[in-house]
Amino acid sequence: MALGVGCAAPPGKARDNKTGSWRVFRPVFDPETCNRCGMCALVCPEGCVHENEEGMFEPDLDYCKGCGLCEEVCPKKSIRMEKEEK
């Protein structure tokens, strides 16, 4: 590997850092009650809530730090934070 001249690097590498390991609580999404408002995806500081093929929202647990912001903003209370078990 050669160093990027001037400590420069192309995008992409941050994703190597799986911040999911920081998590103590895990958000659990309930597709039943969700109204697909997208607030959870909008406010997640990790940008790790995505709409899946079925149009449902789900967190990418590789990166989710379990901050609970999505739970707090969810208007339908469709998200529940659960203690992480590893």
């Binding site: 400590c7 590498k13 941050a14 850092n17 911040t19 909008l42 500081p45 990790e46 379990g66």
Partner: protein, 303 residues
């Protein structure tokens, strides 16, 4: 472009911000607003540190960091260069309140005076967080920080009011100055869009609570930022060519509701409640409300 903007995550996961970090959310929203055709200039601080340890950058747009205090000057040079090259990228600085209110003032003042076509965004978490929660010019009156701690000789914490950067930059002749908050993500996005499309130097100051530095649970970041607005301690407004516009109206709640939820204001309530100090902070909120006319007056029931 609008669609593309919505879909691509240009500020990628894997960054090292604390869970629930307000500035991290601001970074994401910023790039939603700018899309790909942007060059981002950063100052040293939490956001820079959590997003760019070599070689793991979270930025999927061109990004540059030089120093803590010179982002506005670096952006000036980039602007001049792009102008000469006939290039179209928008130039956006994203800098902490310390970088903006304090150490960066020289370069900012110069850049705004010269009238470069740049957008300078201050993500305001109201202290130097990267170095461990020291007071900045943006720290609100009464907050305790590690350099404005409380003690017998300083029962009130930070003795100075928050510096009025929007007014200072408006006085520099900036065509567009705005305040925003992550409490209202879409409003922030819209303001960024307006700023980058306004020729000349524009300024946006976005309120980005920091759970670690302010002392609240990571899940409450949005709630706290809403409370700042609902108490009148933070006002979202625009200053267009020197004239204040569109201050967001609220039904205000007492400042205590905001203060008591944060460790940085704990001394106002414990060991003993400091009514006089709380009243002073209420007076700041009242003055804001007065100045910006944000109070929603209850309509008299129609006769």
């Amino acid at each position: 472009m609008a669609e593309e903007k919505q879909d691509v995550e240009l500020f990628s996961a894997g960054h090292r911000a604390c869970g629930g970090c307000g500035p991290a959310l601001a970074a994401r929203l910023l790039l939603k607003a700018t899309g790909k055709n942007v060059i981002v200039v950063a100052s040293t601080g939490c956001m820079e540190v959590f997003s760019t340890p070599y070689p793991e950058t979270a930025w999927e747009v061109p990004w540059i960091h030089s120093l803590f205090e010179n982002a506005a000057a670096v952006a000036s040079g980039i602007e001049a260069s792009l102008k000469k090259q006939g290039r179209s990228e928008k130039i956006v600085c994203i800098c902490g309140d310390g970088a903006t209110f304090d150490i960066g003032v020289l370069c900012i003042s110069g850049a705004f005076e010269r009238g470069h076509d740049i957008t300078y965004i201050c993500y305001d978490n109201e202290a130097y967080m990267n170095t461990g929660i020291q007071r900045s010019g943006a720290t609100p009156y009464g907050a305790s920080t590690t350099t404005s701690p409380t003690g017998t000789c300083a029962p009130g914490g930070n003795p100075l009011p928050k510096k009025d950067m929007p007014a200072i930059l408006a006085a520099h002749g900036a065509p567009y100055v705005a305040t925003a908050s992550i409490a209202y993500p879409n409003d922030f996005v819209k303001k960024v869009e307006r700023a980058i499309n306004t020729p000349g130097p524009c300024y946006i100051q976005v309120h980005t609570p920091c759970c670690t530095g302010w002392g609240f649970e990571s899940r409450d970041t949005i709630a706290i930022s809403k409370l700042a607005i609902n108490t009148g301690l933070w006002v979202n407004y625009e200053i267009v060519n020197g004239v204040v516009e569109k201050a967001k109206k609220v039904r205000r709640v007492p400042v205590e509701e905001y203060l008591e939820k944060q460790k940085r204001f704990r001394h106002l309530f414990r060991p003993a409640r400091q009514d006089a100090e709380i009243a002073k902070i209420q007076a700041i909120a009242d003055a804001n409300a007065e100045k910006f006319g944000i109070d929603i007056k209850l309509r008299k029931p129609a006769e």
